[in-house]
């Protein structure tokens, strides 16, 4: 009867982000297209990262080095995405639903962030999600009462939301790198922090998964507050 698990984990992982999508972005076709394009960019970044992994032929399944270069590559492609959007910005604003609004760029950032996040969630989580339909489970090492499917769902949920906020903050930073460099630093560091925090899920630390979730949630809250501040600054 683990259709229950399947729906539970699917809703946990993608529920909040899909709610976000359907209630804010789905109405605007332009934002949807932006979202898909940014998903594509994330995919390319992970393709490059996995090629490096493939050729490095590392044996360890959880190598901190792997996390390091994959995070850095994702951030790099975030920057590429920003550059391309910057070039197309004028045309995009003109074609938007409300060309006079000063919040268009933020909306683009929000949609791109959601795209990045959803693609991340999809690629890393869809496999365990499909397997969760079967009867068998595998328990999380550090929290033996939870299944790996469920801890993965929570991690995915947090990461999608984190990516959304990171994109907003990163765009703010790229807009004026000399003055707003701290945004970029925050994004890179918190991305690394969040990724390394998930390593505690499978470690032999007691209730390690809780530590990971707490760290990620804290990062998420801080990032949300920071994004709200940047939005307020726009006039």
């Amino acid at each position: 009867m683990t259709l229950l698990t399947f729906f539970g984990c699917a809703l946990t992982a993608f529920g909040p982000s899909l709610a976000l999508f359907f209630l804010t972005i789905a109405k605007d076709a332009q934002l949807v297209i932006l979202m898909i394009s940014s998903a594509f960019f994330w995919l390319i970044s992970i393709l490059v990262a996995s090629s490096i992994w493939f050729f490095s032929k590392s044996d360890a399944t959880e190598n901190p080095i792997t996390i390091l270069y994959s995070v850095l590559l994702q951030e790099l492609f975030r920057w590429f995405l920003y550059k391309i959007l910057r070039r197309a910005e004028n045309g995009l604003v003109l074609a938007s639903a409300n060309p006079k609004s000063p919040y268009n760029v933020s909306a683009f950032a929000f949609a791109s962030g959601l795209g990045f996040g959803l693609m991340n969630g999809l690629v890393t989580y869809i496999n365990p999600l499909i397997i969760s339909v079967g009867s068998g489970v595998i328990m999380c090492k550090s929290c033996p009462t939870l299944t790996l499917f469920f801890t993965g769902a929570i991690t995915t949920c947090l990461f999608i939301l984190l990516h959304t906020t990171w994109m907003i903050l990163a765009f703010e930073g790229f807009r004026d790198p000399k003055r707003n460099y701290y945004y970029i630093i925050w994004v890179v560091l918190s991305h690394l922090g969040a990724s390394y925090a998930t390593m505690s899920n499978q470690a032999d630390i007691k209730s390690g998964c809780v530590i990971g979730f707490v760290i990620n949630t804290v990062l998420l809250v801080i990032s949300i507050i920071a994004s709200m501040r940047t939005l307020k600054k726009i006039k």
């Binding site: 229950l4 539970g8 809703l11 909040p16 397997i131 009462t145 299944t147």
Partner: protein, 693 residues
């Protein structure tokens, strides 16, 4: 143009996702452990369905009920959920299985046949082997035998549980560790059960298993044959004679020496049938070998000696009935294309066969049924040793006949008795010496007597009143007997029988035949080698032509009939008997039989002529029609077919409780609901604080 870029992006994304999704088997292998217990399959006949089935993959928590009381407790308890019950084989009665089925708690059964207890320090067996156990019927094959129309039939197998003939709509797999792979599966499963027991079935996650063994066939034999979802149970019998020039008009009487070459049990993969199946055919080969070393060649005697090793006897006398049918009825070849066709794969031009009905060769016509002088059949003979008075080991075998008053029967019984040390005092006795006239036990001779009840026929066995205690069961593996005892038993009876045949073929068998005049003796080393080959080590020299790996124990289940390909057992008998009865060894070299002409055998790397042939064996109630399909022609006779299936799957894994699954679902629903609400409020808040319109 933007649209085309978008479409390309979507295409790329979907390709990537496809790649990601196709990797799921690697991840799955981490926590689904695939194991290999042996399944029980669906076998059908013209009216009914027997065996086990799992229409969809079913899973359940592992639980072991060691005694009948524990089993009753489990059935009556109010446990929730589905369980896979590990049941000692001794408790697998039909009543128990039906109670389990109706309790609704069982999703599958694992039959515990043997194995050691992993938690015991000195590897004690986990269950006691029952003293007798037979999953077959109480009167096996009596509906196909000679006495099927009698009012009262003798019950030869009173311990029979009859579960082989029952239909179970749930999967039953067997736990029978005998080699590395099965030991591995067994240990994992038993460890899983003990893991569950330590947690009292309350603290999840617990260990569960899933069966996936879909049998395609259903309803009855004619339906599944029509749908191509089953194949006939059967194989190839082997007959062989040193009389290379035997033909139907030579007027010479024929002595038939026969045995069954295979066996039957509930779980086909582990059918060994050491006593009931192999011992008789080992004796037959030993007799053939002994007679081949006769100082005067037996082919010059007054009577022919024809050795017949029948396949499929436990399934309603498949081999003997078809053999007798073919040599008794006049044969008409309706069509002969002389080339292999789609429905008959033999090169009939080369081997002198017929395309329809499909026969590789027609040499069986050279056997004239009316010339059959007598039949000597070797039944189970491995347990002929018992402890007599004063704890002295003594041999004892029994001769069964249909009619005590038949002169030919009396001659054979008395001759055997005399050769074994004296009529009534030697080690070969009449089965009716206790005054009970039981007639014949289920045997191949019945098929012959069906056509002519007066043919003298004796069935030699180690039992008197009841079939052996492990008749047609997985326990018939000889582990309750000493190997040297088994060899000795087979050797002794084969010795006496070969002497009797030698004398009888020269018309000099008499109630007073002394052994001193019979220069025939069985090679007991050969008996030992044959036993080893057929039970433990199929890499023995006699199997050289077939080259199997060591530690490969071959199953002695009859298997399914395939027209142009013979089972390992049939090929074994063909090659061994063929070499023993080889006539003239030519100087043409060969590596295997295909290097020689038809009618020749490759023995000692040289081609030699030999009157040794295969004969089809499948249900007497089944026939092939012209286009190669098989249909049921006589529902009263044996019509056994085995279902087709695709791969089995059996996995061991952890499961969580329903409660935790429900809480996962609730978390998801709550989180999604919460986020919808927050987004709506968040939009309002953002609009307000940023003063949007």
């Amino acid at each position: 143009m933007y649209i085309s870029i978008l479409l390309k992006e979507i295409l790329f994304i979907s390709l990537f996702m496809h790649l990601v999704l196709s990797q799921d088997t690697e991840f799955k292998k981490v926590f689904y452990k695939k194991l290999l217990p042996v399944p029980c399959v669906r076998i059908l006949n013209s009216t009914s369905v027997t065996g086990c089935q799992s229409l969809k993959p079913t899973s359940g928590l592992l639980i072991l009920t060691e005694t009948q009381d524990l089993l009753n407790d489990f059935i009556k308890s109010d446990r929730k959920g589905k369980y896979v019950v590990i049941l000692p084989y001794e408790l697998m009665t039909n009543d128990n299985l039906r109670s389990l089925e109706s309790s609704g708690k069982m999703s599958g059964v694992l039959a515990l046949i043997n194995g050691t207890d992993p938690s015991s320090p000195n590897s004690a067996p986990i269950i006691q082997r029952p003293i007798n156990f037979s999953p077959d019927e109480k009167c096996p094959n009596c509906q196909f035998g000679l006495y099927r129309n009698d009012e009262s039939r003798y019950i030869w197998n009173p311990n029979g549980l009859g579960i082989i003939q029952e239909r179970y709509d749930f999967p039953i797999f067997a736990l029978y560790p005998f080699d590395k792979a099965s030991n591995n599966s067994y240990n994992k499963i038993i460890n899983g059960v003990q893991f569950n027991e330590r947690r009292s079935y309350e603290r999840f996650p617990l260990k569960a298993v899933e069966f996936d063994a879909l049998m395609f066939a259903a309803i009855d034999a004619s339906t599944c044959l029509r749908r191509n979802f089953c194949s006939p149970v059967g194989g190839h019998s082997v007959y062989s004679t040193p009389s290379i020039d035997m033909n139907e008009n030579d007027g010479k009487p024929i002595i038939i020496v026969s045995a069954a070459m295979d066996s039957k049990s509930l779980f086909q993969g582990i059918t060994l049938g050491l006593n009931n199946g192999i011992s008789g055919s080992i004796a037959l080969i030993a007799i053939a070998d002994a007679l081949s070393r006769s100082p005067t060649p037996v082919k010059n005697f007054q009577k022919h000696i024809l050795f017949t090793s029948f396949a499929g006897e436990p399934w309603g006398f498949l081999g003997s009935q078809r053999f007798v049918k073919n040599i008794f009825e006049p044969f008409n070849c309706i069509q002969n294309k002389t080339k292999p066709t789609q429905s008959c794969g033999y090169n009939t031009g080369q081997s002198g066969g017929c395309t329809f009905p499909c026969f590789r060769d027609l040499d069986f016509k050279r056997i004239n049924f009316s010339n059959i002088d007598s039949i000597i059949e070797l039944s189970s003979v491995a347990n002929g040793i018992s402890l007599g008075p004063g704890n002295i080991q003594q041999f004892k075998y029994f001769v069964h006949v249909d009619n005590e008053n038949n002169a030919g029967n009396r001659l054979l019984m008395q001759g055997l008795g005399a050769l074994s040390g004296g009529i009534g005092v030697g080690f070969v006795r009449n089965a009716s010496e206790d005054g009970v006239f039981r007639k014949l036990p289920p045997s191949s001779s019945m098929a012959f007597l069906e056509k002519n009840i007066n043919i003298p026929a004796v069935v030699i066995s180690d039992f008197q009143a009841n079939l052996s205690n492990y008749y047609n069961s997985e326990y018939d593996d000889g582990s309750d007997l000493d190997v040297s005892t088994i060899i000795s038993s087979i050797c002794t009876i084969a010795n006496v029988t070969s002497q009797a045949i030698w004398l009888h073929a020269q018309n000099i068998l008499s109630p007073t035949s002394p052994t001193a005049n019979t220069p025939i003796s069985v090679n007991c080393t050969l008996v030992g080698l044959l036993l080893d080959c057929l039970t433990v080590d199929a890499s023995c020299s006699l199997f050289d032509a077939f080259r199997r790996s060591k530690d490969d124990r071959i199953s002695h289940y009859t298997g399914v009939y395939q027209q142009t390909s013979q089972q390992l057992l049939s090929r074994f008998h063909y090659n061994v008997l063929g070499s023993i009865n080889a006539n003239i060894i030519s100087d043409r070299k060969c590596k295997n039989e295909t290097d020689c002409q038809f009618g020749e055998i490759c023995t000692n790397l040289h081609c030699a002529s030999s009157f040794t042939r295969y004969h089809d064996s499948y249900g007497a109630g089944l026939e092939f029609i012209e286009n190669g399909d098989m249909i049921v022609v006589d529902p009263e006779k044996a019509t056994w077919v085995e279902s087709v299936w695709s791969d089995f799957d059996f996995n061991l894994f952890n499961v969580t409780s329903i409660g935790s699954q429900v809480s996962e679902l609730m978390t998801g629903i709550l989180l999604t609901g919460l986020s919808i609400v927050s987004v709506i409020f968040g939009k309002k808040y953002v609009r307000k604080t940023l003063k949007l319109d």
